[in-house]
């Protein structure tokens, strides 16, 4: 069973794609990080929370046939690297899409879905997945 405290800490990123942005060089990061590896010492204290664009396009993708337990009801399914409108690369599952119709450059948007649950009694984990753009 995962920690509920950790689950709670990750809510801004999981629900609303909150990452971070370096105030020194403008680089956007997701998941969030407190340190800019480009600016190093110069960026200390200048990295702040930043909500990245929930829409983007497929940069690369792969079809998963052998899944972890949490996705056993969904296989086969696709995962993708999505390049968001503000240039961040975000990894996520693709949903509501016909596997044979996925293509690089396809516009997608982040939606909230169930990621996993800690058994029948534990907490339910919600987070983003990507669906075709409207």
């Amino acid at each position: 069973m995962s920690s509920v405290a950790r689950e709670w800490r990750e809510i801004p990123g999981r629900y609303n794609l909150e990452g971070s942005k370096c105030g020194c060089c403008g680089q956007v990061y997701f998941p969030r990080r407190d340190f800019c590896p480009k600016c190093r010492r110069d960026g200390i204290g200048k990295v702040s929370p930043y909500k990245i664009d929930r829409s983007g396009e497929i940069f690369s993708f792969s079809i998963v046939y052998e899944s972890p337990e949490c996705n056993s009801f969904l296989k086969p399914y696709a995962v993708a690297l999505v390049k968001t409108g503000d240039g961040a690369l975000v990894a996520g599952q693709l949903v509501d899409v016909d596997l044979e119709k996925i293509s690089i450059g396809m516009p997608v948007r982040a939606v909230l879905r169930k990621l996993d649950a800690d058994g029948a009694s534990g907490v339910i984990h919600y987070g983003f997945k990507f669906a075709p753009a409207l």
Binding site: Y15, N16, Y126, K129
Partner: protein
């Protein structure tokens, strides 16, 4: 007097469908005939990773996208009405509120009143806005409803929901008045911890659905001094296609008046989402000046009736920022019963 009404709305229905003939094939009954009797040609089914939280969130995000001038921090209340909240204890409403970034200076609660918890939420938001306790309130009706395998309900119980932003500024549809009719009528219920509801069969008709809807509707028209012909559209709770069609006729509404908001024939009964989705389909097409009559029904039992007038604000409203109900229902994916059982979590897995 302050004008209170709908500032924005959003709707969502999962893409999966099952047909009554496929359900009937499993239980050895004439499913097609069953569907014909209920006036349901197919029903929506949630994806394996969808529940009331995700459905309500999708509807609420569409609602917010259509009202970009509204700061989510000005939302003072989020109410989610459903009879299939994923947690017995832990609110759906807090998760949805977080997902639309309305937290933390707000109140939230989950509501349950069989199929009418969504409209009860709209009334509660009207009260908060009218009393000056909140600038905006969000009321959502959403369900992934349950029907026992083989039971008549299995042919209709479906999934979907709609979200409403209630306020007094930039109102696209003014709620002129709302009235309710409520009694203790045990026509349908689900006990704590039980997976499926039970119902009183034919008892769900005359003393329950028809009595409550006609009573609330007549009372409201009497108070407003209106008659059915004064309304362009009417939406009644849709447990199947047959009941709303019949109740419309009993009250004097024509089939044309209920056409735009009658979704059950193509998606089934979305329970708490039923009237909210029907009203969303009407608002998708509505023009300034249109008068809309709405009456929900929740077993147990009660009806909320609303007299609504679409305002000039609808011309400036950004409907195009989120999909219409018709668009949401495009490109369905059909399931066989085995896949349906998996989607509905009816298969017992090893630990």
């Amino acid at each position: 007097m302050m004008e209170i009404g709908i500032v924005s709305y959003g709707a969502y229905v999962p893409r999966f469908r099952i047909k009554p003939e496929e359900i009937g094939r499993i239980w050895g009954v004439d499913g097609k005939g069953m569907g014909k009797g209920l006036m349901i040609s197919q029903k929506s089914v949630p994806g394996c990773d969808e529940d009331v939280v995700t459905i309500a969130t999708e509807a609420a995000r569409g609602m917010m996208a259509r009202a970009p001038e509204v700061d989510p921090k000005d939302i003072g209340a989020v109410y989610v009405g459903s009879e299939s909240h994923p947690y017995a204890v832990k609110p759906t409403a807090t998760i949805v509120a977080e997902a639309i970034e309305a937290t933390p200076d707000m109140t939230a609660v989950d509501m349950e009143f069989a199929c009418k918890a969504g409209t009860a939420g709209i009334q509660a938001c009207m009260g908060l806005v009218g009393a000056g306790m909140a600038r905006y309130g969000v009321a959502i009706g959403a369900d992934t409803s349950q029907g026992a395998p083989g039971d008549a309900l299995e042919y209709s119980a479906s999934a979907g929901g709609a979200a409403y932003l209630i306020g007094s500024e930039r109102v696209i549809a003014r709620i002129n008045k709302t009235m309710s009719f409520t009694t203790d009528t045990p026509d349908f219920w689900r006990r704590e911890g039980q997976p499926y509801p039970l119902h009183g069969g034919r008892f769900t008709g005359e003393p329950a659905y028809f009595r409550h809807i006609t009573s609330a509707a007549k009372k409201l028209m009497e108070a407003m001094g209106t008659k059915p012909a004064d309304y362009r559209h009417a939406v009644f709770h849709q447990p199947n296609g047959k009941f709303p069609t019949r109740v419309a006729g009993m009250l004097g509404f024509s089939p044309e008046q209920i056409e735009a908001g009658l979704l059950t024939p193509s998606i089934g009964n979305t329970y708490s989402g039923s009237v909210p989705l029907g009203l969303a389909a009407v608002l998708d097409k509505a023009e300034a000046g249109d008068r809309v009559f709405v009456t929900s029904y929740g077993s147990g039992a009660g009806s909320d009736a609303f007299d609504i007038t679409v305002t000039d604000e609808i011309k400036r409203y950004k409907r195009e920022n989120a999909p219409t109900v018709a668009k949401v229902l495009e490109n369905p994916v059909y399931l066989d019963y085995g896949q349906y059982a998996k989607h509905k979590g009816k298969i017992i897995m090893s630990e």
